[in-house]
Amino acid sequence: MTHPYIPNAEPGVRAEMLAAIGAASVEDFYADIPPELRLDRPLDLPEPFVAEHDLVRHMRSLLGRDTGTDEALSFLGHGCYPHHVPAVCDEVNSRGEFLTAYAGEPYEDHGRFQALFEYVSMMAELLEMDVVNVPTYDGFQAAGTALRMACRHTGRAKVLVSGAVAADKLSKLRDFLSPDIEIVQAPVDSGGEMGEVVLDDTFAAIYLETPNVYGVVETRGRELAELAHAHGALLVVSADPISLGVLAPPAAYGADIACGDIQSLGVHQNHGGGQAGYIATHDDELVAQFPSRLFGIAPTTVPGEYGFGDVFYERTSFALREEGKEWVGTAAALWGITAGVYLALMGPQGMREVGETILARTRYAMDALAGAGLRVLHDGAVHFREFAVELNDAADAAALLDRLRAQGIYGGVPLDDRTILVCVTERHSIADIDRLAAAVASARRADDEGGRR
């Protein structure tokens, strides 16, 4: 049987084509592969499910072993967030034209160029910066590249990184800034913000996150910008764009580079496969430091018509190989288009409202869990979407989360044996939060009783 995905495996057409070419068999095409490199047996792979229905059964059976956040009440965040995904976002990014397009030219792929240009343009409005890249892989990569951009720009090889950064992200930064760039970590102050730092003229950048890994909104951005600038360094700020309807964009307090992840803008959690990174700068010399593609608007031979194309392509490894800036590959463009759809749906009002709702519900959840007897870290700070709670004894975190999971609640991400990071978005109703608090309170009572016994 000819496989539905391989039309020319059909023996008749195969023979016809071989005859046209004048080849005896497909072996002719492989004559350059030495016999000793030829695999002399079939690959050892499972028996295939050729019938689509059999494949569907197999996949459903496997995937049915997962229990997703749609079947539980989830407070998991820590870099992957359960925001509402508008149906129109799914509709657009599942359009076959976008899903299966790739790297065409600005003529036959005009729509792809325009959609990505519009995405970067909407991000630019949100960020108040004039230059935004076509998405890189994720917020980790965006931070790494932003710091390398700062180093290239300043000619320096040391960066001061906030201590309130996720451990995995720091791991990525360490790997990606190796071997030439030194990372100095700043302390976290008692309020959960970046603590006092000492800078000198060997630093290329200060790297700040807001909201940071604890969900704390950093308040001293301007001060840090001034400090950095006084030493000829840059301020690099990682900010989640979904917060920027209510929070000041990094540029507003002097950041030179903004970066972060756009998964919060209309992309499902996708088991972590929905990440995409943005990097933004002013329209200044930093533009030369971007490795990513930048799509710009350009005139055509017809006045008033807009075409699109690559801005300053000669920065890239596509143009210059190792002489380009880092590298550019296939990153996460479709999530950029999706985030554009999200921003267009939300508009200024929607972005403000979602920010206000998240701020209010986060505070409500902090108070509710404090009421349930947990210690809320950095309670005095403004939190956006996340906050950490601390338990009394080591290993309590896992036990509490196990108890909650038994009730269908994914209570949060354990940061360590006694600290849990709780995430609250506009998808969590007040009743959801109350349910979590009640379950926590009851679990703790059970623990206490267990302890007494």
Binding site: Y5, I6, N8, D32, E36, L37, R38, P42, D44, L55, V56, M59, L63, D66, L76, G79, F98, A101, Y102, G104, H110, G111, S121, M122, E128, D130, V134, D138, R148, D168, V246, L247, Q269, H271, G273, D283, V287, L294, I297, F308, G309, F312, S317, E322, G324, E326, W327, G329, A331, A333, L334, L345, M346, M351, E353, E356, R361, R363, S429, I430
Partner: protein
């Protein structure tokens, strides 16, 4: 469609979606963090947002629509719709759920890692990288970690070839290596004498694609690997071009220590306008301890996450691009060993058939009279010299006929290049049609070169003037910049 820029469609007071109200007391923000003025995002009703993007989608040319053989090296193959349904099934999974609630997806990772290990001959595979280039970078980071772990700090050079993907050179440079690029020899093969001259105690690794982007398979590949090994370096196989050799020859069997696959090329996950993609790193036993973490471990049918002891750390957040991992797994599971081999053989058949047709077009050539596997880098040098029409112009004209056309990466080592890779997905009639389009445009170039140079005629827009894109005073990478520079 003559679809305006989205900002031009904004109308104050409109909105595309409503948001749940707080339901709890508002939080007062200190001035230092409060946004001062609302962002100037477009204001549009939901239908208007949808309509705008549906129209733009129709102005994009995906595999679902065209005979997509003109984006050579990109392996534009059919991405089965049924696999998209599996990808959607992981949409609401959070990556940090307890592994007890993720046994299905972890098993898929585990199984796919093992299947790709079998396809490559490698011992272990990581599916964490977000793309082929990211996998190349991960491989380089592992190479760096390997030498460092052995205290072998002298090795600061990486060798690659000119017809390997530019990311090999670029990733190596980013990771701190000096890059040595081997040029092809007179036969179109990577020059083994140049390699002999280049290897030495400073050699960290060879990064090489095979077949290269010319479609030529280097028959002395094992010798290349051996030379690098003798010098103490590692050999890393860029398998972006694996589509023609699945089940035919394997990376490890040629001695390679590391390799990578692009799941969005060889294993059919969709290209998505340029990602999300997915990459896989395969390594020999000796390098397994350096793999990015975590990877999936199995014990008694239960799957868990473990981080290799000397892991290079994170390449990207979380475990990998799961929707694409799921798709690639399903794709292999509907083909099996025999199916993968049919994929390879048919990709080679289609490529050789198309080459046979293209080389009959006067003015087209395929430099070096070598066999090709799954793609060919062709040249219009002869046509261009005769007519003054350049390969880029032929490409723009080809777009008038509803197909893509790619020249090649820079620099244009092959003059007036174009690169075709027909994969296994297309029918004989499709290939005939594509060849006929090229023949038609080539004949237009002879009879009416201005017609070709004036293209496109069938696009939403006309010929673009690219000069502002390279001029900092004029370029406009966002609408905001455009308004400031050109409309203010």
């Amino acid at each position: 469609w003559d679809e305006p820029i989205i900002f031009e469609q904004s109308r104050p007071g409109q909105r595309g979606i409503a948001v749940p109200g707080p339901g709890a007391p508002a939080v007062e923000l200190p001035d230092s963090v409060r946004r001062a003025a609302p962002p100037a995002l477009p204001e549009m009703s939901q239908l208007h947002v949808l309509r705008h993007y549906v129209r733009l989608s129709q102005e994009s040319l995906g595999v679902d629509l065209n005979v997509d053989v003109g984006q050579g090296t990109c392996t534009m193959k059919y991405s089965p719709k049924v696999n998209d349904s599996f990808a959607r099934a992981v949409a609401e999974l959070h990556p940090l759920q307890h592994p007890d609630t993720l046994q299905g997806v972890l098993e898929i990772y585990w199984r796919l890692e093992r299947m790709l290990a079998e396809v490559s001959g490698m011992a272990r595979v990581s599916l964490q990288p977000g793309s082929g280039s990211a996998a190349i970078y991960a491989n380089i980071a592992m190479i760096r970690a390997y030498h460092a772990a052995r205290g072998d700090e002298r090795r600061d050079q990486v060798i690659t070839t000119m017809f390997s993907h530019p990311s090999n050179a670029a990733c190596a440079k980013t990771a701190g290596y000096e890059v040595i690029t081997l040029m092809p020899d007179a036969d179109g093969y990577p020059d083994i004498e140049a390699l002999r001259a280049a290897v030495g105690p400073r050699t960290a690794a060879l990064l090489i694609t095979n077949p290269e982007d010319t479609g030529i398979f280097n028959p002395r590949i094992a010798e290349f690997v051996e030379l690098v090994h003798q010098a103490g370096g590692l050999a890393c196989y860029d398998q972006a071009n694996a589509n023609g050799i699945l089940g035919i020859t394997r990376a490890r069997d040629a001695g390679f220590d590391l390799c990578h696959f692009n799941l969005h090329k060889t294993f059919s996950t969709p290209h998505a306008c340029g990602g999300p993609a997915a990459g896989a790193c395969g390594v020999s036993e000796a390098l397994a301890e350096f793999l990015p973490g975590p990877v999936v471990a199995e014990e008694d049918g239960r799957f868990s996450l473990v981080t290799p002891p000397h892991s290079i750390g994170k390449i990207r957040p979380f475990l990998g691009v799961t929707p694409n991992v799921v798709r690639a797994y399903a794709w292999i599971m509907t083909l099996g060993a025999e199916g993968l081999r049919q994929v390879a053989e048919t990709a080679a058949l289609n490529n050789n058939y198309l080459m046979h047709k293209v080389l009959r077009i006067p003015g087209a050539s395929a430099p070096w009279d070598r066999r090709r596997i799954e793609q060919v880098r062709y040249s219009w040098q002869e046509l261009s010299e005769e007519t003054g029409v350049h390969s880029e112009e032929i490409g723009v004209r080809a777009s008038d006929f509803g197909v893509h056309y790619w020249t090649s990466h820079h620099p244009y080592l092959v003059p007036e290049p174009f690169t075709l890779e027909p994969t296994e997905s297309y029918s004989k009639e499709d290939l005939d049609e594509y060849a006929a389009i090229l023949a038609h445009v080539a004949s237009e170039a002879r009879t009416d070169p201005e017609l070709v140079k004036g293209a496109p005629y069938n696009s939403p827009i006309h010929k673009i003037d690219p000069t502002p894109l390279d001029d900092p005073r004029q370029w406009a990478p966002t609408w905001r910049a455009y308004v400031r520079k050109h409309l203010a």
